[in-house]
Amino acid sequence: MAENKARLLQGNEAVVEGAIAAGLRFFAGYPITPSTEIAEQAAAKLPTVGGKFIQMEDEIASMAAVCGASLAGVKSMTATSGPGFSLKQENLGFAVKGEIPCVVVNVQRVGPSTGMPTSPAQGDVMQARWGSHGDHEIVALCPSSVEEAFRLTVEAFNIAEEYRTPVILLMDEVIGHLREKVVLPSKEELTIKHREKPSVPPEQYKPFAMDQGRIPGVPPLAAYGEGYRFHVTGLTHGEDGFPTNNPAIAEKQIKRINEKISSNRKALCKVERFFLNDAEVVVVAYGATARSARKAVKDAREQGIKAGLLRPITIWPFVEDALSEVKANLPKAVIVPEMNLGQLVLPVRRVMGDSVPVIQINKLAGQLIEPEEILSAIKEAV
């Protein structure tokens, strides 16, 4: 089939291909380097499949429109980078609280502030986790190739739909602009998930039920215009969706929306393991940096050094269990290269405790971390 031919694609283009394959039919965005190609591709492609693109007046409005469209029953996405990601945070929190499925792409560039717009970074790892106020869980996925950008976009939509939650696709400028030859899977090869619809009559529908749903704690979601006449608010609400000041109900609801993610960590957390079984030195790397790490590990192996790579594909929730397995093998060191001052290294250190030394390699001015730099750290550690 035509779909299975090899194509030369950019990471940002692959995101749009993946999104449309996953069922994206509404995109709202605001141009910002290095994510702009996503908006441009969405503008060109969506109307051809009956979907809609709109360039909103800013990122706040884009995030809002995405929430609105999703509540109307249409799979929705926005894409941005640093400054725009900051602007989206309040309405991203609204999507968490209103349990509105949607996908937010952040193609990271160097910050803080306007920073270095065309240079790659991984500086928004913690912002993705904690950027919006209040206690909440978030799901963030991090591709490290063009093909994976496609697959993880599909996965992001599936998770958003299944868990009624916003999902962040945390890319970086390298992956966003990288061109690779890829063979995209055909429609038949993909699993596409859809939010669970209520099966009860409108009078009985509780959009924020504590104990309903295919996944416990993820209540079915009606769409506007289907006769359910339901209410969605950012105020803390009870099962019926209406505001409450009752501390017992408030606590239960806040816990539910946190636990629907945290208690499903096993299903959500994906990693890639590369030469990990007998590794004496383990590199933990994600996104573009993982490409250099893979090369470094290969080179080390060729030189007889037992190095391995653990690549978190899911950034949030944190891949706690995979890290604990690494720790159980008591490697000589864990090396964490990141294009920031050290962000994912924080939970890595927490898991390793005093048992395993954790070594950081950090670059923050838009330069890539080269395989040789990681290799020499590996050599020093053995």
């Binding site: 509404f26 051809t48 909103m56 609105g68 249409v74 215009g225 006449r229 969605v232 105020l235």
Partner: protein, 274 residues
Amino acid sequence: MALPLEQYLRVAKMPHIWCPGCGHGIVLQAIVRAIHELGIDTEKTVIVSGIGCSARAPGYLHFDTLHTTHGRAIAFATGIKLAKPELNVIVITGDGDAAAIGGNHLIHAARRNLDITVICFNNNIYGMTSGQYSPLTPQGSYATTSPYGMLEKPFDLCNLVMGAGGTFAARSTTYHARQLTNVIKEAISHKGFAFVDALSQCPTYFGRRNKLRTPLDMMNWFKDRAVPVNAWEKLSPEEREDKFPIGVLKKTQATELTEVYKELIQQLQQRGGE
């Protein structure tokens, strides 16, 4: 006309949170009457609001409802309308919500001529946060953040919307409740972006500070200053001082965004099918 309340209101959610004498209930009633008189499908109507006393209205309305973030209701509504153009989308907003934090969304929705109706419960004050000035507070009026009188000049929201390309703009007040219902009816029926500046009273935080002790004083203040638009046209600039026009101020037809989109999609799909 008797109003079958249960059809439109979530009666179980009463009593409402508004203060005695607050004008917001009168505007809400005008909206319900307008919807009732128009006979539009309540299951195909979504009501969206931002944050404020006004923004709590959708919680009492038996429709699909969305209570969003401060200032952003129009942007959420834009997503709903584009995703499902067959829905009637009505935005309930406050003067702070619409004109301060959400001012950018207001002018852009007007420019796009998206077929939604925006009703601003304009009490020219921040009610919910206890009486700070808004971009609609008249010059010289007192608010907690204008203890020496409001220094800035206020917006005229209808002029703003008309200037931005909105195809329908109307104004009325809680004193003119019947007219308010009528302009809301026209706004909802209008194909394109429609804006209603619904002057409402906040006796608690505006009236008390500005020598309008009772809600009635405030409504009389509206009565004394409102001029029907036909009469307004004939007034000299001096006669217009301290007064404002009420009624439908603009009503024109222009291409509407969801219609344009529908045509584009049809064209592209035909081309794809050839």
